[in-house]
Amino acid sequence: MTDASMDSAPVQGSLTTVDARTRKRNAAEKRFKAYGLVAIMIGLFFLVVLAVSILRSGIPAFTQAEVRVEFTLTQEQFDEAESQMLKTKAYENLFIAALQSQLEERGLEVSFDPAAIERLLGKTGSTIREHFRENPNQIGTPVFFNLAASSRVDGYFKGRVTRDTLVDSRFLEVSDLDLVDALADAGIIVSAFNWNFITGSDSGVDNPGGAGIGVSVIGSFFMMLVVLALSLPIGVATSIYLEEFAPQNWFTDLIEVNISNLAAVPSIVFGILGLAVFIQFMHLPQSAPLVGGLVLTLMTLPTIIISTRASLKAVPPSIREAALGVGASKMQTVFHHVLPLAAPGILTGTIIGLAQALGETAPLLLIGMVGFIARAYPEGVVSGFIDPNSAMPAQIYTWAARADAGFYEKAWGGIIILLIFLLTMNIIAIILRRRFERRW
């Protein structure tokens, strides 16, 4: 197509007429440009499809139908509820009774069947009990509660549940929706921004309304601290040694080949290695961000080493010669001249490696960070590292595997948050590269 054999007859005729050979070459060039454009279009199309589907499925996770009710608990009611076997159930009954009387006071023309009201509410009993046990001074005074409505009611607000799809559902009946409509008109059930989703912890399998990603964000954060603290110094030191100091022999060749190979090892292999070495052999705590971070460090190291070596290689040898020429030692040459010039590349590589580690799920499966339900924030820095926790991608995986449709939308919402973190990291990488880039 593009061979340039010169044995054809010399070109005849005017320069203003295009000969066949030139036409052919121009056509080939046009075709090639068209292929490129088509490839870019296909890529963009899939990107748009991805973004739209993530946003469409994920945005509902950021709102939640809430029941807003004022509720007063007397001391006697508190004592009695605490003395019962099913304590949360007792609280729930008290709350339902209170809600019922309020509805009657307002004169809403709907049936106030306690069973129906129970179906509208999410996990109310435990929330109320926790609140009064933590704030005993509020017993006897009116407290304003924002309680998550049940998953079906939430779905009704988001269009996920309709009257047609509710047939044969034992969680919510069609007639209950009339009650929901009435309560929504009265301002008792409202759809509000779901802060709990961003800041909260995971919930039980039957309570998607209470699920939040906040605690696993903390888990991911502590993992990233471990990854950064270990992989950056080890990776950069390894690269500097291999690139600037190590003699070229079979041993360093072997190391080089192995580092390249490590970068291609499936992450689940690192996971099982982590399980065998860190948990079974070294007896580090299971499901802990410390172990997760160690495993992800193993995974990130090759990335950082390869990118650091590439940026060290990109520093022109003339700079090294200049430094050696004025009598700098090898180490002074590296630390005064080569490393500062390679820094933007190293930073970029590190942040990309961290972003990769942040989104990694497979190794976490094997060290028990998936499926663990962290209900509370770690109490301090140390417990942040060693207390069992989950991580963002692991949390998303857990939600996606749960039956309730409410969790499905939470999984998509979690992906949005994960992507926001990844985008932020990449933007930081770009800014750092722009800022520290120096010309020579």
Partner: protein, 265 residues
């Protein structure tokens, strides 16, 4: 091996700065420098000429052990500076390079300010006790590099922002800032235009007052203009070493004559 011409040996006795004897350099299996013996004099510009790949740059880089940075490079024989064998185990190449400065083919200022470019060497060698002393060293070096007047008002500007000729003079100033005794120049003008070349050549002639200057060049006119001694290398051998005027007017070896008249190389 080639005999050093008799009259050189006589003058060399008086003021020899570098004495190389039977130097062999190997790159892996490649024998790059064969049996080179030469005596380089103080306060003299010595030019190394020869066709590409003849080993002149390799030999130059042996004189401050820059070849140490190449793993497969091996140097045999003796190179003495002021009587000390620079390949002795006790010699630290860092100290050696402070004493034997080098200017490279392509101007290679550090991507730092003009001031920091000059001050770097004195700083790492601890030559200044305070800022005032360092300022003085920087000014002296820039003056010796014949670039002070052009940059004195913008010492904090990046060295990479200067023109090619200015950059090369900055690099020469950087090399002299560490107070070396020998200055090695590896084709210092090959990346410069004729005007910048003329300035650098003038500078080289001035530097001769204080240093032994060794310059590798591809330009025979340049060798003739700036040097007092010329060594002609060919295929790793030192073919001829003599006064520059001798080499260019009355070469002993037929290869030298062929090269300077443009028939080989």
């Amino acid at each position: 091996m080639y005999d050093i011409p008799h009259q050189i040996q006589e003058t060399a006795v008086t003021d020899v700065k570098i004495k190389a004897k039977d130097v062999q350099v190997y790159y892996g299996d490649n024998h790059a420098i064969k049996d080179v013996s030469v005596e380089i004099e103080n306060n003299t510009v010595t030019a190394f000429i020869g066709p590409s790949g003849c080993g002149k740059s390799t030999f130059l880089r042996c004189l401050n052990r820059m070849n140490d940075t190449i793993d497969i490079c091996r140097v045999e024989g003796d190179i003495l500076i002021d009587g000390d064998d620079i390949y002795d185990k006790r010699v630290d190449p860092v100290q050696l390079r402070a004493k034997v400065g080098m200017v490279f083919q392509k101007p290679n200022p550090f991507p730092k300010s003009i001031y920091d470019n000059i001050a770097y060497g004195p700083r790492i060698h601890g030559m200044a006790r305070n800022k005032a002393e360092l300022d003085e060293i920087v000014e002296r070096a820039l003056r010796r590099g014949a670039i002070w007047d052009e940059v004195k008002d913008r010492l904090q500007a990046p060295g990479t922002g200067l023109s090619g000729g200015q950059q090369q003079r900055l690099c020469i100033a950087r090399a002299v800032a560490t107070e070396p005794e020998v200055l090695l120049m590896d084709e210092p003008c090959s990346a410069l235009d004729p005007i910048a070349t003329a300035q650098v050549e003038e500078l080289i002639d001035e530097l001769r007052q204080n240093y032994a200057v060794v310059i590798v060049t591809h330009s025979m006119q340049q060798a003739a203009r700036v040097s007092q001694k010329t060594a002609f290398f060919h295929l790793g051998n030192l073919v001829e070493y003599d006064d520059t005027s001798e080499i260019f007017t009355n070469p002993e070896d037929s290869r030298t004559e062929s090269y300077i008249t443009g028939r080989i190389g």
